[in-house]
């Protein structure tokens, strides 16, 4: 059997399949379906310093081959996380990564410091790309100087693996990737959702309470793949590919484009077993093509 293990900085992943923040709850919701330990890693739901109620309902709309969401980082805040969620997930025998969100640099720092205390959290994913919050969020991810600054400050207080999650809503994502690499990011993950919108023509109302929301799913895959390809060529740190990955073939495409690992998002809703099936599918692909190690195809696009 082919060796699927990959490294993202200090993080050892038994395979390149992780699950994307906000689409996998805290992992425990999947215990009924499969053994979460089989995954390369899980990124928990976006956490903020303080409790957030999130946006009003309706928070989602289906679109062609995709969906819009406007959850708005609903979560109970980091104290609740440390007390009630961390105990449930710290026993997982997979990489547990917390998705960190702030509306100011100070918030990012305070939150990171709290997460840093949790021994079994192996890395943080710095979310500078949430399109669904009024303050902060995507503003950090769409400005190169701001992205650099938040990375630099968080780096100062965090020694474990720091992944920065990039926004696709930019003119030049490779530039931002290089910027955060320079400021000490150990890895970049991309993409977060695209800012989109849906209207109900009959009622003449927006489909989301917030008017705009984040587009995810297969619809965005071609753009996400292009961005991963561009970023992989621009940086030396490992790239984590995200965006419309539904099956092993999609995952292989991102890996060929240069991703060291992938995150499965919206696919978890369509098929709760999508991520774990993907591992098997990647194994089959490698075997069929006579590769003994996943690394042999990373960035292996034939030009």
């Amino acid at each position: 059997m082919a060796d699927l293990s990959v490294k993202i900085d200090k993080l050892a992943l038994k395979n390149p399949v992780m699950t994307a923040s906000g689409t996998f709850g805290n992992g425990v919701e999947f215990d009924d379906f499969f053994n979460v330990d089989e995954l390369g890693g899980i990124i928990l739901k976006g956490t903020t310093l303080n409790h957030r109620e999130g946006n009003d309902y309706p928070r989602m709309a289906e679109t062609p081959s995709g969906m819009l969401n406007a959850v708005g980082l609903q979560n109970k805040g980091v104290d609740y996380f440390c007390e009630h969620i961390y105990p449930k997930v710290k026993g997982y025998n997979t990489n547990v990564i917390v998705n960190v969100n702030g509306s100011t640099i100070e918030e990012y720092i305070a939150l990171t410091e709290r997460i840093n205390e949790l021994t079994n959290v192996d890395a943080i994913e710095l979310n500078i790309s949430c399109p669904n919050v009024k303050q902060g969020g995507m503003a950090f991810g769409t400005s190169c100087p701001m992205a650099e600054q938040v990375t630099k400050e968080v780096r100062k207080v965090y020694d474990k693996t720091l992944i920065v999650k990039l926004s696709p809503n930019v003119t030049n994502i490779a530039e931002i990737a290089k910027g955060v690499e320079n400021k000490g990011a150990d890895s970049v993950s991309l993409v977060n959702t695209f800012l989109g919108m849906a209207i109900d023509a009959e009622t003449r109302k927006p489909m989301l309470s917030t008017v705009t929301g984040g587009l995810s799913g297969p619809a965005i895959k071609p753009i996400a793949l292009r961005m991963v390809w561009q970023v992989a060529q621009a940086v030396k740190i490992p790239v984590i590919g995200i965006g419309g990955i539904m099956d092993a073939t999609d995952a292989i495409e991102f890996i060929l484009a240069g991703a060291s690992a992938v995150q499965v998002g919206t696919a978890n809703f369509v098929d709760p077993n999508a991520s774990v099936k993907m591992i098997k599918g990647i194994e089959d692909y490698l075997e069929r093509h006579n590769y003994s190690n996943i690394n042999e195809i990373t960035g292996g696009l034939q030009l």
Binding site: G22, T23, F24, G25, E29, F30, D32, F33, K45, E53, G54, D56, Y57, P58, R59, M60, A61, E62, T63, P64, S65, G66, M67, N69, V71, Q74, G217, P218, T266, N268, F269, V270, D271, P272, N273
Partner: protein, 258 residues
């Protein structure tokens, strides 16, 4: 009962009228543990505009054949694709999901209220409630005579009361216009599933009559099992997911302006 994703066999698809279809699915595991009010999330194949799964209440369970049914009203591409599914085909289903209705104690009088395709979970609830020894009354509302379905089946589990908007069957008007709701019987509980305005009207009646009341919500869902946080409703403990902390809520917990 553990949630599962299963490829279930379609053993029946009966057109009850032009837009309501009763689809029976055979499961691998015992279905006794599915609770009245729980729902399932169905992947619709061959429907290009149906990307996400579609949620449907469990209409009833048939433990002797390990089967359960869903009642599908064709309102869009996904439900239309389901309406033409054939016996022998398979459906990829995540189930059982959600919390379910409160079950009555022996001797309680309960009024189960269904409007439109909201009657779907009422059958299962009525049957189990009768088995528990409750005095079951079932109040069903529809637009016209022709929209009323499954009345004989409901009669097996309780006293059936009917309304139609146009008066073509039963009491004319909405379910809340039916005399049973303000009548002699002091119900221990109203349990209701239907369009939001109907459920709110029932909730108002419940307040007036100081009767406990549960409603089953149908918020738009992406995942159905508590991970996307898209399906929330406001409660007095903040936003709650309808798919895991509902779909059934006691109206006292909801922030409805009624």
């Amino acid at each position: 009962m553990k949630k599962e994703v299963s490829n279930l066999l379609v053993t029946k698809n009966i057109a009850l009228n032009h837009d309501n279809f009763l689809i029976e699915l055979k499961a691998d595991s015992p279905v006794e543990q599915i609770l009245p009010g729980q729902f399932v999330n169905v992947k619709v194949e061959k429907s290009p505009n149906t990307f996400l799964r579609r949620p449907f209440s469990v209409h009833d369970t048939y433990p002797s054949t390990n089967s359960f049914s869903i009642l599908v009203k064709a309102v869009g591409d996904g439900t239309e694709a389901l309406s033409v599914i054939k016996e022998g085909q398979r459906l990829d289903v995540v189930f059982p999901l959600g919390n379910g209705f409160k079950l009555p104690s022996k001797g309680e009088s309960i009024l189960l209220i269904g409007g439109g395709v909201g009657i779907a979970p009422i059958m299962h609830l009525a049957r189990i409630s009768k088995e528990k020894g409750a005095d079951v009354h079932i109040l069903l509302g529809a637009r016209t005579l022709n929209d009323h379905i499954l009345i004989d089946e409901f009669k097996r589990y309780g006293t059936v009361h009917l309304t139609t908007d146009d008066g073509s069957l039963g009491t004319k008007g909405f379910v809340t216009n039916h005399p049973v709701i303000d009548g002699k019987i002091r119900f221990n509980r109203y349990q209701c599933c239907g369009p939001d305005p109907m459920m709110q009207a029932v909730a108002r009646k419940a307040k007036q009559n100081e009767t406990e009341c549960e409603v089953s919500l149908e918020n738009m869902m992406a995942c159905g099992f508590g991970v996307c946080l898209c399906c929330v409703t406001k409660t007095n403990e903040g936003n709650k997911c309808v798919c895991t902390e509902g779909p059934v809520f006691n109206i006292n917990n909801l922030e409805w302006q009624i």
